[in-house]
Amino acid sequence: MPAMSRWAQRFAPLIGLVIVALVFSILTGAPERYLSLQNLRVILAQTLIVGLGAIGMTFIIVSGGIDLSVGSVIALAGIVAALVLRDGGSPTWAIAAAVLTGAVVGAWNAMLVTRVKVIPFIATLGTLGAARGVAKWLAGERTVNIPDTWINELAVTFPAQAWMLVAPGIWLAAILAVIASLVLTHTVFGRRVYAIGSNEVAARAAGVAVESIRQRVYVLAGALVGLAGAMQMSRLRQGDPTVASGTELDIIAAVVIGGASLNGGEGGIAGSIIGALTMAFLRNGSQQMGWPSYVQEIIIGLIIVAAVALDRWRTRQRTA
């Protein structure tokens, strides 16, 4: 029985994803189209930004924190990258600048949480507003147009080189997800992220430098969000200071659907990516069905609650 329940625990998000895919295959009446390589590319491209954010958010949520500032930071990092490009910087520099911007905002959040001792919810809520403001200020409250460079190919739905199957940005995100998953499960750092999220007091008493781990988690997550910002800019082919509003909630939802607990100590990269894909499949399926967007919103809202309710129920089963 315990083996069974652990199996269910690990694969529940995946089963959820399969069910969503199957249901829409049937509903659309054309599984060969819904599950075609063509459509999978569309879904993956739509998952890219939420997926990158979800990698970082998994670290934060597993450590017992939260980050509400992600949407604004995506916009801010995108604007910074666009400005670098516009002013003649190379695409590589633009991406580096976006990642750095995200990391700096992450360090700011970490400072608020670990030094000023503002709870993460409030600290990052403040940053949510401030970062959006800075993005608009830097962009002069307009979109920033960028020259045509290879950066525009980074996150396209259909890559120019057919052998790549999906855009380079998606490959990059996949590699990062694998690395992040290994870091979380196979390194001392990852172990400590779980430890402080599971029981901060006990972790401290076992010699874990809780503050330092938290700082690294927020900086790491910020850098990933910065990269997501570069991808966002690449998809739009311009810097838009108003983009990605509310994305943080999609990201948190993905992580939670993937089996993480907002109390910390539980969750994993694979689950979070599956959570992100589940939402993308849902959106895509609803679009193919021609349902209005409010139907998607209602369904996704219900799915989030159902995923967490199911998780609570499983936990009760285990403890009973």
């Binding site: 001392v188 430890a195 007091v201 006990a202 972790a203 076992a206 010699g207």
Partner: protein, 531 residues
């Protein structure tokens, strides 16, 4: 006269342990009845039943002659029986009157009747002699002592007939204790029966009119103050058969190293290393004038390699705070904290302590000792994962192997080392906590209540392990509320009382009674005078 509260033949069984075994208590109206007994004697269980939190397996309870069987704490309150907890249960953001009248507020047409509520609160406060307190004040602005008054007023406001005070003075300064006593006397004068649970004999002598002593779930002594003397109380509390056996220790070890505590300064002293023959006298841990205001004041002691050093004291005496400060979990001031003769005051993080060879087992296993929602392996290796890691990457198989070695060395019973700690029994959980110290190769073990709440067999195994560690040259600081255990395990014992650590003496110089007296601050005999 019918007793206000009469309990007879109360039984409560938890698994294989009998918390109450025919317990009895009679409390007269308007009396202050002291209820004493060592930890685990059954006081809390019995009081819990009276307050409606627990149901007896057998036995009878009567309130003013009527059969009394409260369904829950709320039912007990409506019948006039109120338990005032050790930890206060006030609503810090609400006002004094809101706290006093919570659940019994006066209403008119469904709206709170403010003048009436204020009047009732003031009335309750006045009864306890606190007319000066404005009922509109927020409770979190009050001192702990005044908060306690508010808590007791709650009982007054519902016209309680019996008020149970569970260690009410443990968090109070002396001056506040006086005020509390004045309150208790007013309650008694108003006809309320007060059951007063306390460890402090001098307080009991000052405030109580009657006393009941419990031991092993039974009443072993009942009488009136001052007829019953301190000696009789202590004898009644401790007079049990020693049910535990403690590991044999070699006679030379047992005698303990350097007996007298050095009176002078420790600077520049290189003890034990001089001749380099017997490693026994080497001082592994040396502490001078360590203070954590206001809980610990000027604690000084030395622990030698191979020694088990006991710290006795009541809960709240500051012994846990002392150990936590040593491990870097509390900020402290000290003239010196030396580990293996190196001053370590500069680095005060737990991680630094672990690196210096110090291991800590928390008294709070579930919340501070272990990550109960993580695996056994992770818990064992938590404080030093680097052992099985290269450049930050953990070799899972190696980690698992190390953890299993230490878990087995502790005699831990588990099906799967990857299972969550939560799934283990208390005794096995504690072995996981101790296995962590083996894994991190701790040479100085700070053990705070290492056997609390675990079964007898596990206790014996843990004793065995501690003695073995000492034999291998570890220095052990052993904090415990359970006196026979301290007497059975330790080479020397120091008693902590109200933040002061007395000089250590050989364990053989103490008896259970003299140790208890020293901890409670009873009319102090020198330990050697006790037969």
């Amino acid at each position: 006269m019918t007793p206000r509260l009469a309990l007879a033949g109360l039984v409560k069984q938890y698994g294989s342990t009998r918390a109450l075994d025919g317990a009895a208590l009679e409390v007269s109206p308007g009396s202050v009845h002291a209820l004493v007994g060592e930890n685990g004697a059954g006081k809390s269980t019995m009081v819990g039943m009276v307050a409606g939190g627990l149901e007896p397996d057998a036995g009878e309870m009567r309130l003013d002659g009527e059969p009394y069987a409260p369904r829950d704490p709320r039912d007990a309150r409506t019948k006039g029986v109120v338990l005032v907890h050790q930890e206060l249960s006030l609503f810090p953001h609400l006002s004094v009157w809101e706290n006093i009248l919570v659940g019994v507020e006066s209403q008119r047409y469904g709206v709170l009747d403010h003048p009436e509520n204020r009047r009732r609160a003031t009335e309750a406060l006045a009864l306890l002699g606190h007319v000066d307190l404005d009922p509109g004040t927020r409770v979190d602005r009050l001192s702990p002592a005044m908060q306690q008054v508010v808590e007791i007023c709650r009982a007054v406001a519902i016209r309680a007939r019996v008020i149970l005070l569970d260690e009410p003075t443990s968090s109070l300064q002396r001056i506040d204790v006086e005020r509390l006593f004045a309150v208790v006397r007013k309650l008694a004068a108003a006809g309320v029966s007060v059951v007063y649970i306390s460890h402090a004999l001098e307080e009991i002598r000052e405030i109580a009119t009657d006393i009941t002593v419990m031991r092993d779930g039974r009443r072993v002594l009942a009488g009136t103050i001052p007829e019953v003397d301190d000696e009789a109380i202590v004898r009644a509390m401790t007079g049990r058969d020693l049910t535990h056996r403690y590991p044999q220790r070699s006679p030379s070890r047992r005698a303990g190293p350097a007996l007298s505590e050095p009176a002078g300064r420790v600077e520049g002293r290189v003890e034990g290393r001089v001749e380099g023959r017997d490693p026994g006298p080497a001082v592994a841990l040396s502490v001078r004038n360590l203070s954590v205001p206001p809980k610990v004041r000027d604690a000084s002691f030395d622990v030698h390699a191979g020694e088990i050093f006991g710290i006795a004291g009541l809960i709240g005496s500051g012994r846990s705070t002392l150990v936590r400060a040593l491990f870097g979990l509390r900020a402290c001031q000290a003239d010196a904290v030396r580990i293996d003769d190196r001053d370590v005051r500069a680095s005060t993080m737990p991680a630094d302590r672990i690196r210096a060879g110090v291991g800590y087992v928390s008294e709070d296993r579930r919340h501070e000792g272990l990550l109960v929602e993580r695996s056994l392996v992770e818990n064992v290796t938590l404080s030093d994962v680097h052992q099985s890691a290269t450049r930050g990457w953990i070799a899972a198989a190696e980690e698992h192997r190390l953890a299993v070695t230490h878990l087995d060395a502790m005699g831990t019973r588990y099906a799967n080392a990857a299972a969550l700690v939560r799934t283990l029994s208390g005794g096995n959980q504690q072995k996981v906590a101790l296995a962590r110290l083996l894994h991190q190769r701790a040479r100085i073990l700070l053990l705070d209540e290492p056997t609390r709440g675990i079964d007898v067999a596990s206790k014996a195994q843990i004793y065995e392990l501690i003695v073995e560690r000492a034999r291998e040259g570890c220095a052990v600081v052993f904090v415990s509320s359970y006196l026979p255990e301290l007497l059975g395990m330790c080479d020397r014992i120091a008693v902590m009382r109200r933040g002061r650590l007395e000089p250590a003496r050989r364990a053989s110089e103490f008896t259970e009674a003299s140790l208890l007296e020293a901890a409670m601050g009873a009319s102090a005999h020198a330990p050697s005078e006790v037969s």
